[in-house]
């Protein structure tokens, strides 16, 4: 199979993290990919704010490191 580039792998990991803990719902049938990316950026901001990180909406190293910490399986934010 083609090797998934690191960036893409991190993006997948982050997406799953935000789904699990920040109620991120990806709109599968959305025609506008950018809409999902904006929605995901909002959720990244929410997570950065919860952990007191700089709120950028970007999946930077610090944010990714925080996502990889061992943790409890209960969401931080829930609908």
């Amino acid at each position: 199979f083609p090797v998934v580039p690191e960036k893409e792998k991190d993006m997948q990991f982050a997406k799953k993290y935000l789904q699990n803990f920040y109620d991120f719902k990806e709109e599968k049938d959305s025609l506008f990919k950018s809409k999902n990316l904006n929605h995901m950026a909002d959720k990244i901001r929410e997570m950065q704010s919860f952990f007191g990180l700089e709120v950028t909406g970007e999946l930077n190293h610090k944010t990714l490191d925080m996502m990889k910490q061992p943790r409890c399986g209960i969401p931080d934010i829930r609908s």
Partner: protein
């Protein structure tokens, strides 16, 4: 802190829990101790009381599982998600699941997750707390290894849980409605004396033949001395020993001579220094040290060797605090503190028992430390005390340890 939407909480103060299975990473006794200690964190700051069930449906069912385990939130292998728990409600509500793919430990090393810390967090969810974004709070979502020996609940968590259940009751937390007898040997308020009264001399007759061993569940059962020994608890009366082991549910009945043939019965006090694998027995003005079945050479010794004045002719009770490494000796209505490291009595003693152990009046027949709490036995009752918060938690019959 946060709670779940609609702030679900238990609508009662007596909450039950059951450990459904164990992780192979730890001794069962260590798992039970970690869970019990985790519950104590929450009961010490609320009116809640937790009773462990060994069968049937409990409010909080605790289990270890890997991957998919029957709910919609499968675990993810080592790392990542360590555990999860459900807010209070019926069915799966309150239940706590721990990922068996993690390495569970009772220590705070870095190659495993401390079960007490994770359990304390998850039980916060079982009681209705959500996550906190205060770094250092117990309910912070990310696992942070820390020293658990003298772990105190951070203020944010106390604020959160008391927002749901309020602070602990002033008086000893006695059940407002007695649990069915098989579930609890706690006394109803009518029975429970509020304080220890001066020693009621047991009206024991001097039988012509050796006294028979009292029944385990005799409500008037009193003890001469109690000690832990390598994870077990030994209860002494006359020449008899009741042996409670975390490995067997039944209470074993022995005699002192079956363990230490050269020791006569009728101990006054006993305590274990776990780090030295050493138990000290007191009888009148002498004491013995044993390690397992072996009596150390050179014993018995006079108790004045420990620094007691000659006015002290016997010790009523003794208990070693595994956290502070101090041993408390109880004589009449006073007590001494003994530093096991320096092997000397501490300055500023003796002090009045009642001054430092809330709700404990005069004579202490026997004393025990288990799961961080102290148990002071007097007559047919025992007084459970949290020495850190100096709080009398509850009063029970002596034989609550015997599954009565």
């Amino acid at each position: 802190y946060s709670t779940f939407p609609m702030s679900p909480k238990w609508k009662k103060e007596d909450v039950t829990y059951r450990i459904l299975n164990y992780t192979p990473d730890m001794l069962q006794a260590d798992v039970e101790e970690a869970i019990a200690k985790a519950f104590q964190l929450w009961s010490s700051v609320t009116p809640l009381r937790f009773t462990r069930l060994h069968s049937g449906q409990a409010d909080i069912m605790i289990s270890f599982a890997a991957g998919f385990h029957g709910d919609f939130y499968s675990f993810d292998g080592p790392g990542g998600t360590l555990a999860h728990a459900y807010p209070p409600s019926s069915g799966i509500g309150g239940d706590a699941h721990f990922d068996e793919d993690e390495n569970w430990t009772k220590f705070t090393t870095y190659d495993g997750y401390n079960l007490f810390l994770v359990a304390a967090h998850e039980l916060g969810h079982s009681l209705g707390l959500g996550h906190s974004n205060v770094f250092g709070a117990l309910m912070y979502p990310i696992y942070t290894a820390r020293d658990t020996r003298d772990y105190r609940l951070p203020q944010d968590d106390i604020d959160g849980i008391q927002a749901l259940y309020g602070p602990p009751r002033e008086s000893p937390a006695l059940p407002t409605t007695a649990l069915p007898p098989q579930e609890s040997t706690e006394m109803t308020p009518a029975e429970a004396p509020t304080e220890m009264s001066p020693r009621e001399e047991p009206t024991e007759t001097t039988p012509s033949k050796a006294p028979a061993r009292p029944e385990d569940c005799d409500p008037h059962l009193t003890f001469d001395a109690i000690t832990t020994l390598r994870g077990e608890i030994l209860f002494f009366k006359g020449s008899y020993v009741w042996r409670k082991s975390p490995y067997f549910s039944e209470i074993e009945h022995d005699t002192i001579s079956s363990f230490w043939p050269s020791l006569a019965g009728g101990f006054d006090a006993a305590y274990e220094v776990d780090k030295k694998d050493r138990v000290i027995f007191f009888k009148d003005d002498q004491y013995w040290a044993v390690s397992g079945y072996n009596i150390e050479p050179g014993f018995p010794k006079p108790i004045q060797n420990l620094g007691f004045p000659t006015s002290v002719r016997k010790i009523d009770a003794a208990v070693h605090d595994q956290n502070t490494k101090k041993t408390y000796f109880f004589v009449g209505n006073k007590y001494w503190s003994f530093n096991e490291n320096t092997q000397s009595l501490e300055r500023g003693y003796p002090r009045k028992i009642a001054a430092d152990f809330q709700g404990i009046g005069h004579i202490v027949d026997a004393a025990l430390q288990k799961n961080g709490l102290f148990y002071f036995f007097h007559g047919a009752n025992q007084y459970e005390v949290d020495v850190k918060s100096k709080k009398l938690i509850r009063i029970m019959k002596n034989n609550s340890w015997f599954n009565c």
